[in-house]
């Protein structure tokens, strides 16, 4: 069932496309993409992102640190932005999240602009991620009242706990080509005397090039449906009440 909420807990939604490296990155690409997006995302801001990653080749595990230059194209209120870099496009929306009906067209326009300019040869990764922050009025939160996904504590363990994190990867899609990573962890509440958690849902492609560039937006639509279903399955009616279901 498709529900919409008056007070959604989403603090950021990110749709990320990583493309198969092909030709050397043309420095003119970001400017040409900006020409196509400037009406909606008029502010240009170059940033350097520090990235680290682990990569295994045979028996060798290497740790890499690199600086990736990206350019952000932001809306005037900086709530919506695209990030463009070598073989990378992401489309982000910060809170307040307007819903899929408004966010999806933004993804489509950014993806289209990138495709027209950069002409990518393939996709190594696609991801759609919803990061939620949920606050509760009580200091001592009982997660079972709000979540269907939570830490399990055996009978011999103390029942009171502080910081926590739980996570699980669900293999999904044809031949398990996708993963939906569901994570729940304690977060800092905005005010003393309250409790808060972060619920992070990340649906991503794990088999490089299993989805063609032409099918990417269909994949994103399917990912959204899967994320919506898992989000609804992760929470209880009590939390739905807190998020305030919109009628119709």
């Amino acid at each position: 069932m498709h529900r919409r909420y008056k007070s959604p807990a989403v603090v950021e939604v990110v749709c990320e496309f990583r493309f198969v490296p092909s030709e050397p990155w043309d420095l003119a690409v970001p400017g040409l993409i900006y020409d196509r997006l400037r009406k909606d995302l008029p502010t240009r801001r170059p940033v350097r992102r520090l990235e680290t990653s682990d990569r295994r080749q045979g028996d060798q595990l290497s740790h890499e640190i690199r600086v990736r230059p990206v350019i952000r194209f932001l809306s005037r209120d900086e709530k919506r932005f695209a990030q463009v870099g070598p073989d990378l496009l992401s489309v982000n929306h910060l809170a307040p999240y307007p819903g899929w009906g408004e966010y999806c067209p933004l993804i489509e326009s950014c993806y289209s602009a990138y495709g027209q300019v950069a002409n990518p040869k393939g996709l190594s990764r696609i991801g759609l991620r919803y990061i939620n922050h949920i606050e509760f009025p009580e200091e001592r939160g009982n997660m079972k009242q709000y979540f269907q996904f939570l830490p399990y504590l055996g009978p011999e363990l103390p029942k009171l706990y502080g910081s926590f994190r739980v996570g699980v990867d669900f293999p999904l899609g044809p031949d398990n080509r996708d993963v939906l990573r569901l994570q729940l962890g304690s977060s800092k509440p905005g005010e003393e005397g309250r409790s808060a958690v972060a619920l992070d849902l990340d649906y991503y492609l794990v088999q490089p090039e299993a989805v063609s560039t032409d099918d990417a937006l269909h994949w994103v639509e399917d990912a959204h449906v899967a994320l919506r279903e898992v989000f609804e399955a992760s929470i209880t009616d009590r939390l739905r009440e807190r998020l305030e279901i919109l009628e119709g």
Partner: protein, 178 residues
């Protein structure tokens, strides 16, 4: 509002703002469990970006600004103290150009001002204009002339480094004692 995971660090555990959670073991579900199955690590498959500042093995920043900021605020926690960190995070998300500048400003403030205690970072709001900015509050020792010279050298450095409007959104206030 806070956007980031509370870490399992000593600092996080002793943070009085962190709430406790209670495990309710009544009416346990007996439904069948299936799994786990072997899945490739995302980082191994795609060179995914690991959140270096997040103490959650495998936590991926990816292209998330919220997670990037989370990692940065954690890392900066060794250089300064954030007052009302949720407010700081919200402000930085609305002024994302400052995210990259903040570490540079903090390092320079520490270097020039030589504060007696870790500098405090907080949001200050002008009630009339509703303008907001980040303020570094520092306590320093020295006579007026010496402290003023240090402040002048910090400001010169910062103005040279930052551009408009970022330059005006990070300010420094000092309290000097002999």
């Amino acid at each position: 509002m806070s956007y980031y995971y509370a870490g399992l660090t000593e600092q996080a555990v002793t943070d009085p703002r962190l709430a406790l959670f209670e495990f309710d073991d009544s009416a346990e579900d007996e439904s069948e469990e299936v799994g786990p199955v072997a899945l490739p690590s995302e980082a191994e498959q795609t060179g995914g970006v690991i959140a270096s500042g997040v103490e959650w093995p495998g936590a991926i920043i990816g292209s998330s600004l919220v997670m990037e900021l989370d990692a940065q605020l954690r890392a900066l926690g060794v250089l300064c103290e954030f007052r009302r960190p949720q407010e700081v995070a919200s402000f930085l998300l609305s002024n994302s150009g400052l995210i990259e500048m903040l570490p540079l400003a903090i390092v320079r403030a520490n270097s020039h001002m030589q504060p007696l205690r870790p500098l405090q970072v907080e949001i200050v709001r002008d009630p009339e204009s509703e303008e907001e900015w980040l303020t570094f509050n520092v306590e320093v020792a020295g006579d007026d002339e010496d402290v003023l010279a240090r402040y002048g050298s910090y400001v010169s450095d910062w103005v040279r480094l930052a551009q408009w409007p970022e330059v005006n959104k990070i300010r420094l206030s000092y309290d000097a004692t002999d």
